[in-house]
Structure formats: structure tokens, C-alpha cells
């Protein structure tokens, strides 16, 4: 499964996937692509549409991402993050 490359749903300029969110930026979850494995698990820890999250760090060698959701830090894999569509919040 190649991450997020060919997907039917078009994304406008403000929308991107969680994998593309730079460290330190905040975003709102728009939706979760059907191709995401273990959707339920991500939903259970709070990654549901409308939720705000923040990219906290990238692990060495690029595999894992660390995001803050609902006050807690989660590490998830970049391949999975590529299936989570977000809207970046403008930096104030």
C-alpha cells in the first residue's frame, strides 16, 4: 500500500495529510481515508474528524511521528499518518 499517492478524493490547497504536517504545526482532522489500517484503533485514541492535533516531533530515520491529540502524545507511523487528511491551521 503506497501512502496516499492515488486517492480519488481531491484535496484543496489547505488540506494535506498528517504525514506532511511540519513539526510544530497544528491542524484539524478532516477525515480518515478508508485505506487506513486499524481505523478503529486510531478512532479509539481520539483521531476522529474535527479533532485538533499538533505535530510534535519526527523520530530519527523518519519512520515514526509524534503527535499531540487530546492532551496526550501518540507515536504513529508515517505510512498510517498519510491516510489521515487534515486542514492546517494558519500560524497566528
Amino acid at each position: 500500500m503506497k501512502a496516499g499517492a492515488a486517492d480519488s478524493s481531491t484535496t484543496d490547497s489547505a488540506e494535506c495529510t498528517l504525514a506532511e504536517l511540519p513539526v510544530g504545526c497544528t491542524a484539524t482532522v478532516i477525515n480518515v481515508k478508508p485505506s487506513l489500517r486499524g481505523k478503529k484503533k486510531f478512532a479509539d485514541v481520539g483521531i476522529v474528524p474535527g479533532v485538533e492535533l499538533q505535530m510534535e516531533a519526527h523520530a530519527p530515520f523518519g519512520g515514526l511521528l509524534r503527535i499531540k491529540v487530546m492532551e496526550s502524545s501518540l507515536s504513529i507511523h508515517r505510512d498510517d499518518a498519510a491516510n489521515i487528511v487534515i486542514r492546517k491551521r494558519e500560524l497566528s
Binding site: R37, K40, K41, A59
Partner: protein
């Protein structure tokens, strides 16, 4: 009147369930600051006034469903009949995420008590709760606690007594998900209510209806609910048409929406100071560039601490055993019960004492591991190491068990249960014995100083550990590319905020480990040492091939020899006699029989018997050498220090190359029986256990063979290095 109650502790991973469990029952179950410390249900009892309470601590879960093996276990435990009350522990510093599980537990309509744990952290974050509102929302009492300090435990007990009085007429929560969803749930309830059997009747049909809407595999499999697929799918399609969200995550959406509504009402933020210090530390610790080097520094410090800080205490214990031996030798004449005297001195003191000497190393090792666990660094280490682990087809979650393996392989193998991917879990279990555990530590601490000059010692020690890790990684790669091929699973791990570990918790962990080590020394190692002592001394040889006595007399009578020549000749004959007697014993025979097989890897019959004894427990390797060489102590220049004198003897008999090969073999070979037993249990297979034992033996033998033969050929380590 005294009654018995059954209470289950449920909550998210790392919310402090086990801490509360320990507070209530007085037990000392292991706790740590990372998710997944508790991997199996534990039961404890305590008295609440007149009543007897049975408290069950289950592994942490994010949701009451069956998307991982742990959740499956928890789901079964919670839906089993006979639970009087659920004690739902939540980390109140992250209320939204924590209450998600509460909404599901509430739907079981089992009396519940919510424990807002870590309320000190919630307060620091500026969170304010309207407890009254929340109580009416969830239809149960809420108690605020700080488990780590024991705050609020009395209040918790009072609330529990109060709740137990109202088991029959407890409140039920008022949880609604909006008209559409509630209609769909209601529709399904109509259909499944008639299908409910006695087995499941203690749980409301509504709960199952929601799980069926979520397409939860555990509930869908229940025989009661077969043949309803069309009805459920129709409802799902109906909801999808309205809200365009897939069934699996639909309810999660609804729940979080509901919680955020409740939170707006009942929870307020007074300040925006969230996890500030923790985040600052993490900016460095989990940094893309600094994280990894820092991790290696932490590992180095851990081992430095284990070896360096323990040294003075090791010497102290060594001195103590020397003193006890001196005492026995002085007051127990060799003529009275010589066999018993020798058993006590050579078998018990040299065998068991030789192992107890390393207690400080074990204590410091576990102190370091407990510190890593309790501060929350372990989860960070998994995060920064994930990239490297993936290069070997493992993942960050395998990493915590591997580090725990440095302490003891047995709990480390149990800790692999937090790995969701079955393939990764199996691979991790199978390579784990290659992580050099604390029981192998005494072997290195004895042998390294015996054969290597001070300046090389740290390097050799590091090399041994590094070889273990390298083989573990390569073996994982091999297993994953052959037997356990396939895509990895979803990776999801929470990084808890850093917490200052309580001195009590760390010391208790160290203390428990120390007691375990001493118990092991006093039981298995003592038993095996006595057996080995017998095997090493019996049957006794009465008639020798050569009459050594006569030859010694002849030498002594020979006036033409200088006194020093005479002495060394006498000693040569004495040693020959001792060697012949030793070969006549059980150990000697077994060792001699196997010697041809082990000679190519540099082992003589003595080391061979030590390696066999090490199957019971790795430390036995040290005690067997201690027992075997205790009898040869005729050297006039033998130092006072017990360990030093054993090292001196080893240095006389073996080359550094052989010493290195012994360590290498002990590192890689078959793990102790306890580890094999846990491998069998966790993989649920005798076949895998035997394959593992055979595979590791082959690996150890071949590797040691190559190292020894190349070493001999190139003459590396065949002489002592200065």
C-alpha cells in the same frame, strides 16, 4: 454481616490502575510510566469494613472492543457474569481521551465507580471538574486520587462502601448519541432482545446493539447474534447515507462528540500550562538528531552504573564470605565429618557464595531499569529506536522488552504481549534470549578481569553485550524474512509525560528483585551446587593408576634435589593425583565423555560440566567453576580475596581466548529453564521451545567454534595480554 464482592479495575493503559490496586490491596505489583506494564490479569484481596473484596487488575485498554489481543482479554473479563462493580480508573489530566472508555463501560449497566487518578497533574494543568455534573452524567460516584502518593485512597474506600450498599438500585447513565443513532440502536435492540440467552442476559441488549453497529468481531461471533447481518447492514447504510462515516469509526465519532459536549459543561481550563517541562525535555530527548546519540549515552550510563557503583559492595560481600570460610576452617577440624565440611566450604560457600557476590550488580542493574521505566524514558527510547529496529524488520514496540531483557528474560518475554503484531511478537520472543540477562552478568564479571588487563575490560564487556544485540537483530531479520513474513501492523504507542519516580517505588522494585535473586541463590543454585558438588566428588577414587604416594615419598627422600625443586615435584604429583581423582567422578566422566565435542570450542571437561549446569540457571556456571577450583587451592601465593584466587587459577589453566569463548558460549547458548518455560507458555508450543533451544545451541556452538579456531590460527589471545 460480611459479604464477598468482585470488583474489576478497568482503564486506559498507564492511567495508574496498578498503583491504585497496590494501594488498596497492599500488593506490590510492578508499575512503570509507560503503557502496557500490566500484561495479565492479577487478583488481590482486601477487607473493606466487614466485607471481603476481590479486586481484579486487568491490562489497560483504550476501548471495550476486540481490536487487539489485550482488548480481547479485557473484553471477556468485563462481560463475564459475576462482577459486582467496575472501578474505572482514569488519568484525569487527559479527561477527554480517558472518559471515552468510561462511556462504554457505563453502557454495561454494571455498578461503576470512577477514579479520577493523577488529580495533582490535572490541577497543575489548570483543569477544574464539576464533579456533581459528571457524576449525574455517568450515573456513578467519582473520587479524585493521587495514586502515587496514596492521596484520596481513604475517600475511595468510603465511596466504595457507599456504592456497594446501592448495588441493587444503582443509577444508570444518560448517554445519548442524537436521534438518528439512537433510533438505529433501538431498531437493532428490538431484533436482538429475543435472541438473548441466559449467558449474556446480565448485559443490556443496547450494549450489544452498539457493538454490532461497530461491527465488533467479538460480539459478531456470538452465536446469539447470527443471522442479523442484513438488519445491521441496513442500519449502517442508513447512518452512512446521513453522515458519510464508516461503521467502524462511527460510534467512536459519536462518543467523542458526546464527551466534548459533556466536557464543555463540566470541565474547565483555567490556565494553558500543559506539560511544559515534559515538552521541553522531549524537545531534546526525542529530537530527530540528538535523540539517538542521547539514547546510547543513557545505555552506556546504565551499564557504567551497574558495574562501577557495585564494585565496592561486591568486594565487601566477597570479604564477608572469606571471613565466614575462615571461621569454619578454624573451628571445624578437617578430621571431623570431612565430607560435610568440604560440602559446606567448597559446595555452598564457593558455589552459592560465588553467585551471591554479584548481588550488588543485579541490584544496580534493576535500579537503572526501574529508573528508565518510571520516568517515562522507556517509551521515548522505543520512539527514537524505531527507525533502527525497522531496518532489522522489528519495531519500536519490540524495543522495550529487549531492554528489559538485560535485566531478566522472563518478565521481558511476558512484556512482549503489548506488541499487537503476532509476527513481531513471536520474532521478539525468539530473539530475546540473546539479550544478555542479569544472570549472565556474574559470568562476565568473574571472567573478564581474570583474562583481560584493566584497560581492555570495559571494551570486552561492551563487546559481549554488543554481540548479543547484534545477533538478536540479525536473527530477527532472518526470522522476519523467512518464517514470519508479512506486512507490519498498525503502530500506535502513547508517550506519557515524564514523571519524577518516587524513591519508594524504585527502591521497592530493586528490593523485590534482590530478594528474588537471593531466593534463587538459596534454592535452585544451592540445590544445583550441592548436586554438582556430589557429582564433582563421587565416586571417590581409592586405587590410583600410579602410586603417587610412593613417588612423593621418593622425591622427598631424594637428597640430590634442591628443596625448591622437591617442593615443585611434590606439587606436580599432587596435582596429577587430583586430576586423576577428578576424572573418576560423575562430573569427570560426563565431562570427559563430552570433551571431544567441546574441545574444538576451547572447553575442557570442567568448563563443559559448568556449561551443562548453566542450563538450570546461568549463574551455576560461576558456582561450578568455584566448586571445581576450590579444591585445588594449594597455591602459596593465593590471595585472600575469594574471587581473585579463583581468577588466578582460571588464568593458570585457560588462555584469554578460551575465557572469551566461555563468555561467548554462555551468552548465545540455550537460555535457563525458566526462560524456556516462559517461551513455551507465551508461544503456546513445545515445538517452538525445542526449536529455540536447539537453534540457540547451534548458534552458540558454531560461533564459538569459528572464534576459537580463528583465534588459535592467528594466535590471538593465546597469551595473556598485558
Amino acid at each position: 454481616m460480611s459479604r464477598k464482592y468482585r470488583i474489576v479495575l478497568a482503564g486506559n493503559p498507564n492511567c495508574g490502575k496498578t498503583t491504585i490496586f497496590n494501594c488498596l490491596t497492599g500488593a506490590r505489583q510492578h508499575v512503570g510510566n509507560y503503557p502496557g506494564v500490566t500484561v495479565e490479569s492479577k487478583t488481590g484481596e482486601f477487607m473493606l469494613g466487614e466485607d471481603e473484596i476481590e479486586l481484579i487488575d486487568i491490562p489497560g485498554i483504550y476501548s471495550l472492543s476486540s481490536s487487539s489481543p489485550e482488548e480481547g482479554v479485557a473484553f471477556e473479563e468485563l462481560t463475564r457474569p459475576g462482577i459486582d462493580l467496575i472501578m474505572n480508573v482514569i488519568d484525569s489530566s487527559i479527561p477527554q481521551r480517558s472518559l471515552y472508555l468510561s462511556t462504554q463501560l457505563a453502557e454495561l449497566h454494571i455498578p461503576m465507580l470512577i477514579v479520577f487518578n493523577m488529580s495533582d497533574e490535572a490541577k497543575k494543568k489548570g483543569l477544574k471538574f464539576d464533579i456533581q455534573k459528571l457524576q449525574s452524567y455517568f450515573g456513578c460516584s467519582i473520587v479524585q486520587t493521587v495514586g502515587s502518593r496514596g492521596d484520596g485512597i481513604d475517600k475511595l474506600k468510603n465511596a466504595l462502601s457507599e456504592s456497594l450498599l446501592h448495588l441493587e438500585d444503582h443509577d444508570v447513565p444518560k448517554l445519548t448519541y442524537g436521534a438518528d443513532v439512537d433510533d438505529a440502536i433501538h431498531e437493532i435492540v428490538q431484533w436482538i432482545e429475543p435472541a438473548m440467552t441466559d449467558r449474556v442476559r446480565h448485559i443490556p441488549a443496547r450494549f450489544f446493539a452498539i457493538k454490532l453497529l461497530e461491527k465488533d468481531t467479538c460480539v459478531m461471533r456470538l452465536p446469539e447474534f447470527q443471522g442479523l447481518d442484513a438488519i445491521i447492514d441496513a442500519q449502517i447504510a442508513h447512518l452512512y447515507a446521513r453522515h458519510a462515516i464508516k461503521a467502524e469509526t462511527f460510534m467512536a465519532d459519536c462518543r467523542y462528540a458526546m464527551i466534548s459536549g459533556a466536557c464543555r459543561d463540566a470541565i474547565s481550563f483555567t490556565q494553558e500550562r500543559r506539560r511544559e517541562i515534559s515538552d521541553k525535555i522531549d524537545a531534546v530527548v526525542t529530537n530527530q538528531w540528538v535523540g539517538l546519540p542521547l539514547f546510547f549515552v543513557v545505555m552506556y550510563l546504565m551499564f557504567w552504573f551497574t558495574f562501577t557503583c557495585a564494585a565496592p559492595m561486591t568486594d565487601g560481600i566477597d570479604w564477608l564470605f572469606g571471613w565466614i570460610q575462615g571461621l569454619i576452617e578454624r573451628f571445624w577440624s578437617p578430621d571431623v565429618q570431612p565430607v560435610l565440611r568440604s560440602l559446606l566450604i567448597d559446595g555452598v560457600i564457593h558455589g552459592v557464595g560465588g553467585v551471591i557476590v554479584f548481588l550488588p550488580n543485579i541490584l544496580f542493574l534493576f535500579l537503572a531499569i526501574a529508573f528508565l521505566e518510571d520516568t517515562g524514558y522507556m517509551a521515548r527510547a522505543a520512539f527514537v529506536m524505531d527507525g533502527i529496529m525497522r531496518k532489522f524488520d522489528l519495531q519500536g514496540k519490540s524495543f522495550v522488552p529487549l531492554v528489559l531483557g538485560f535485566g531478566c528474560n522472563v518478565p521481558a518475554i511476558m512484556a512482549t504481549r503489548s506488541i499487537e503484531s503476532e509476527r513481531d511478537r513471536r520474532t521478539t520472543i525468539l530473539v530475546l534470549p540473546l539479550m544478555s540477562c542479569g544472570a549472565r552478568l556474574p559470568i562476565y564479571v568473574l571472567l573478564v578481569p581474570a583474562f583481560f588487563a584493566v584497560k581492555y575490560q570495559a571494551f570486552v564487556m561492551f563487546l559481549i553485550y554488543a554481540i548479543g544485540v547484534a545477533f538478536a537483530m540479525l536473527a530477527a531479520r532472518l526470522l522476519k524474512s523467512t518464517l514470519f513474513k508479512g506486512d507490519g501492523e498498525v503502530y500506535l504507542m502513547e508517550l506519557p509525560p515524564y514523571r519524577v519516580p518516587t524513591v519508594k517505588s524504585i527502591l521497592l522494585h530493586m528490593w523485590d528483585r534482590g530478594v528474588m535473586y537471593l531466593k534463587k541463590a538459596g534454592t535452585i543454585i544451592l540445590g544445583v551446587s550441592v548436586l554438582l558438588f556430589i557429582a564433582n566428588n563421587f565416586p571417590e577414587k581409592k586405587v590410583f593408576d600410579t602410586d603417587y604416594g610412593a613417588q612423593i615419598m621418593a622425591v622427598a627422600a631424594d637428597a640430590s634435589m634442591a628443596p625448591s625443586e622437591q617442593a615443585s615435584a611434590v606439587k606436580r604429583f599432587e596435582n596429577l593425583r587430583r586430576a586423576e581423582a577428578a576424572e573418576y567422578t560423575i562430573s569427570g566422566r560426563v565431562g570427559k565423555f563430552l570433551e571431544p565435542a567441546f574441545k574444538p570450542i576451547g572447553f575442557d571437561w570442567r568448563v563443559t560440566t559448568a556449561a551443562i549446569g548453566a542450563l538450570a540457571a546461568k549463574e551455576v556456571f560461576v558456582s561450578q567453576l568455584g566448586i571445581l577450583y576450590a579444591e585445588g587451592e594449594v597455591a602459596e601465593d593465593a590471595p585472600e580475596d575469594e574471587q581473585e584466587s579463583l581468577r588466578l587459577q582460571l588464568r593458570r589453566v585457560y588462555t584469554p581466548l578460551q575465557g572469551f569463548c566461555m563468555m561467548l558460549f554462555c551468552l548465545l547458548s540455550i537460555p535457563c529453564l525458566a526462560t524456556l518455560a516462559i517461551i513455551r507458555k507465551e508461544l503456546n508450543s513445545w515445538k517452538w521451545m525445542f526449536l529455540e533451544a536447539f537453534g540457540l545451541f547451534a548458534l552458540a556452538y558454531v560461533t564459538t567454534l569459528i572464534v576459537y579456531q580463528i583465534g588459535l590460527l592467528l594466535k590471538i589471545g593465546t597469551n595473556l595480554l598485558a
